[in-house]
C-alpha cells in the first residue's frame, strides 16, 4: 500500500512538472482601462477577477463583434445590440440563427455595468454569466461555448490577445470575462438632459423642459419608476400591458405567481432610438408608449398601482415625447471606441 502511494506521489510530481513545462509563456498587459465616467456617475462594481484593462476591453470588443459566436456564423452580440440603436436593436423580437425569432425584444446595454440582475426577468447576476445565455439559446446563437473556445483558440492572433489580456489561452473563462469587460465600458451620460443637469440651461428646449417637468411631476409620476442616473429604479413591475401575459416575465425565474407579467423597468437612456418598445416589441413608437401609460393600462390583477389613468393633453404628451428625445446621447451612439 505504501509503495502504491509512493508511486502515485511520484506520478503526481511528474504530472505537476509536466504542467509547468507545457504552460505557454505569458506576458499579461495589465495597463488599466480608465472609465470615462460622466459627472455624478459612481464607479460601477468590477469583479476582482476581471479588473478593467485596455487589453481586456479591446479583446472584448473584438469578441462582441465576432460572428463565430453563432452556429451558422451569422450572428454576433452586435447583431442584436447595435451601437446606433443604443446597443439594442429596432426589431420587435430579434432574429437568431437561420432567421429564427427569439424570445424578447433586445435590451439596451447602455450603462449595463451598473446592473446587478440581468435580463428583463433578472435571472442572471453578472455580466460574465450573462454571456452564456445567448450562446446557449437555440433561438439566438445556438453555439456551444466549448466549441467556440476551441475555434477562437485556433485563431493565432486572437489567442495571443487572450494570453495578453488574461494570461491564459482562449477558453470560456476568457470569453465571458472579455465580453463583460467591454460591456462595462458602454457608459452613456452625455445627453442634452445630462448637459442641462450639469448647468447648460440651453441644452433643453422649452418644450423639452416642459416635458421634463411633467415627467417628474406628482401627477404623471413617471419618475416613480424611471428614476436615478439611468432613469430606472431596476425594479420588476407589471405595467398592465396585457390582461393575460403569454410571457410570464419574472415569474419565469422565481416561479412566484405574484411575479406574473413583471419585467424590469428599462433605462430610458437613448430611448428614442430603441423602438419598438416593451418586452415583446408590441408598442411601435414612444407615442404609443405614452398613450399606454396615459390610458392606465389593461387592468391586469397584478398591475402596478402606479399605472393609473392620466389626464394628459395632446400638448403635454408632445412635451413628454420631446423630453424623452432629449435623453439621446449622440456621443455614445457615435463613439468610435465602441465600433468594430
Amino acid at each position: 500500500m505504501g509503495r502504491y502511494r509512493l508511486f502515485c506521489a511520484f506520478l503526481l510530481a511528474l504530472s505537476c512538472k509536466s504542467d509547468l513545462v507545457i504552460e505557454p509563456p505569458t506576458t499579461m498587459d495589465l495597463e488599466p482601462y480608465i472609465l470615462n465616467l460622466p459627472p455624478g456617475f459612481p464607479e460601477p462594481f468590477i469583479p476582482a477577477d476581471n479588473a478593467l484593462t485596455i487589453a481586456r476591453v479591446e479583446l472584448g470588443k473584438l469578441l462582441f463583434h465576432d460572428t463565430r459566436f453563432s452556429r451558422d456564423n451569422t450572428i454576433s452580440c452586435a447583431s442584436c445590440h447595435l451601437q446606433s440603436a443604443g446597443f439594442a436593436d429596432n426589431e420587435p423580437i430579434s432574429t437568431g440563427v437561420e432567421g429564427i425569432l427569439g424570445f424578447r425584444n433586445a435590451t439596451s446595454l447602455a450603462n449595463v455595468a451598473y446592473q446587478t440582475a440581468l435580463f428583463m426577468d433578472g435571472g442572471v447576476p453578472s455580466l460574465e454569466v450573462q454571456v452564456l445565455a445567448p450562446l446557449d439559446d437555440k433561438t439566438e446563437m445556438d453555439k456551444s461555448i466549448i466549441v467556440l473556445a476551441e475555434e477562437l483558440k485556433a485563431d493565432v492572433t486572437l489567442n495571443a490577445k487572450s494570453l495578453r489580456a488574461y494570461g491564459r489561452e482562449m477558453d470560456p473563462y476568457v470569453i465571458t470575462r472579455a465580453i463583460a469587460a467591454f460591456e462595462r465600458t458602454l457608459i452613456s451620460g452625455n445627453s442634452p438632459y445630462d448637459q442641462f443637469l450639469n448647468g447648460d440651461a440651453s441644452a433643453l428646449s422649452p418644450q423639452q423642459q416642459s416635458g421634463m417637468n411633467i415627467f417628474f411631476s406628482a401627477e404623471a409620476n413617471c419618475s416613480a419608476c424611471h428614476s436615478g442616473q439611468d432613469l430606472s429604479d431596476r425594479t420588476f413591475r407589471n405595467i398592465g400591458l396585457y390582461v393575460n401575459y403569454e410571457d410570464k416575465g419574472r415569474e419565469r425565474v422565481t416561479a412566484n405567481p405574484e411575479d406574473n407579467g413583471k419585467f424590469k423597468v428599462p433605462t430610458l437612456r437613448n430611448i428614442a432610438v430603441t423602438a419598438p418598445y416593451m418586452h415583446d416589441g408590441s408598442l411601435h413608437s414612444l407615442e404609443e408608449v405614452i398613450n399606454h401609460f396615459a390610458d392606465g393600462g389593461m387592468n391586469h390583477p397584478l398591475q402596478d398601482p402606479l399605472v393609473t389613468e392620466l389626464n394628459l393633453t395632446a400638448e403635454q404628451k408632445a412635451d413628454l415625447l420631446a423630453f424623452l428625445e432629449s435623453l439621446t446621447d449622440r456621443a455614445f451612439l457615435e463613439n468610435p471606441a465602441f465600433a468594430p
Binding site: V124, P125, E128, V129, L132, I145, P172, R252, A255
Partner: protein
C-alpha cells in the same frame, strides 16, 4: 558459550523482526468502492433503449443525469467520513469511485441529490477548472444560463402518447433544480472496511421516476418541466425520483 550467545541473539532477532513484520501487516485501512447504477424494472437501464411505462407506453430514455453531493459514510463510533463534494452522474457511463477509509465497521451512507445552495447561488461555471463537475465542461448543459443555477436532475427522451412504439414523436423532459429540491438521503447500512474491498451501490429505479403507489405521471398530460415554468410537475417528479433511490451492498 559465544556461539550459543550468537545463536540465541539471532533467534531473538528473527522472532522480533517477524513480530514487527506482523504488526506492520495489520490492516488499518481499506477501500470502499461506491458504484451507481440505474435500472428499469430490475434490468440495467441503457440510455438510448426503449422501455415500457406503467401506462403501457413506449419510453425512449435519451438522457438521465443527476448531481450528487456531500457524500459521506459514518463509522460505528459515529464519526462521519466525507468522501465527495459534488459529482455529476451521467448514466451514459455509470460512475464508480474508490475511497480509502480507516478499517472498521460502518453504519451509514449519506449523500444529497442536487448542488448545495452555497454553490448554486451567483454561480459562474466559467470560473471553475475544466475537471470540476460544476464547470462548463463538467456541467455539460446541466446549468440554466437564463436563470443562473444548476439542473439537479435531467431525465428526458421520447414517447408515443398513442402507444405506438414505431412512431415515438412525443417528447418528455424533466429538468429539475433550484435550492428547494436539494434533497439529502441517509441510508442505514452496515459494512466493514478491512482487507477486502467493500462495494456499495446507489441504485436509481428509473421506471419508478414516473409512478409509485402514491402518484403516476401520465406523460400524455404532464411531460415537460424546467422547474420554474411548471413547479407542480417538478415537485411531483422529484417526489417520485427521491423515492426511487436505494443503496445496496
Amino acid at each position: 558459550m559465544t556461539m550459543k550467545f550468537v545463536r540465541t541473539f539471532i533467534a531473538v532477532a528473527l522472532v522480533s523482526i517477524a513480530f514487527l513484520g506482523c504488526k506492520e501487516a495489520e490492516v488499518t485501512e481499506g477501500y470502499l468502492r461506491l458504484n451507481t447504477a440505474a435500472n428499469w424494472d430490475g434490468t440495467p437501464l441503457v440510455i438510448g433503449d426503449v422501455y415500457t411505462d406503467v401506462m403501457n407506453r413506449p419510453i425512449l430514455v435519451e438522457q438521465f443525469r443527476t448531481y450528487i453531493s456531500n457524500v459521506s459514510v459514518m463509522d460505528s463510533e459515529g464519526v462521519e467520513h466525507p468522501l465527495k463534494g459534488v459529482e455529476q452522474l451521467n448514466f451514459n457511463a455509470p460512475w464508480s469511485f474508490d475511497f480509502w477509509l480507516p478499517a472498521g465497521n460502518y453504519t451509514q451512507l449519506k449523500f444529497a441529490i442536487g448542488v448545495p445552495a452555497s454553490l448554486n447561488t451567483d454561480v459562474d461555471p466559467a470560473s471553475y477548472p475544466n475537471d470540476n463537475p460544476l464547470s462548463i465542461f463538467g456541467a455539460e448543459g446541466m446549468f440554466w444560463t437564463w436563470a443562473s443555477g444548476y439542473i439537479f436532475t435531467k431525465f428526458e427522451g421520447k414517447t408515443a402518447f398513442d402507444g405506438d412504439a414505431t412512431s415515438m414523436t412525443n417528447s418528455y423532459a424533466f429538468h429539475v433544480g433550484t435550492d428547494q429540491f436539494y434533497q439529502e438521503h441517509i441510508f442505514a447500512i452496515d459494512f466493514e472496511i478491512g482487507e477486502e474491498r467493500e462495494d456499495l451501490t446507489i441504485e436509481f429505479d428509473a421506471d419508478k421516476f414516473l409512478f409509485n403507489a402514491d402518484d403516476t405521471i401520465d406523460l400524455a398530460e404532464d411531460n415537460l418541466t424546467h422547474t420554474m415554468d411548471n413547479m407542480p410537475l417538478a415537485m411531483r417528479f422529484m417526489e417520485l425520483y427521491n423515492s426511487a433511490i436505494r443503496v445496496k451492498k
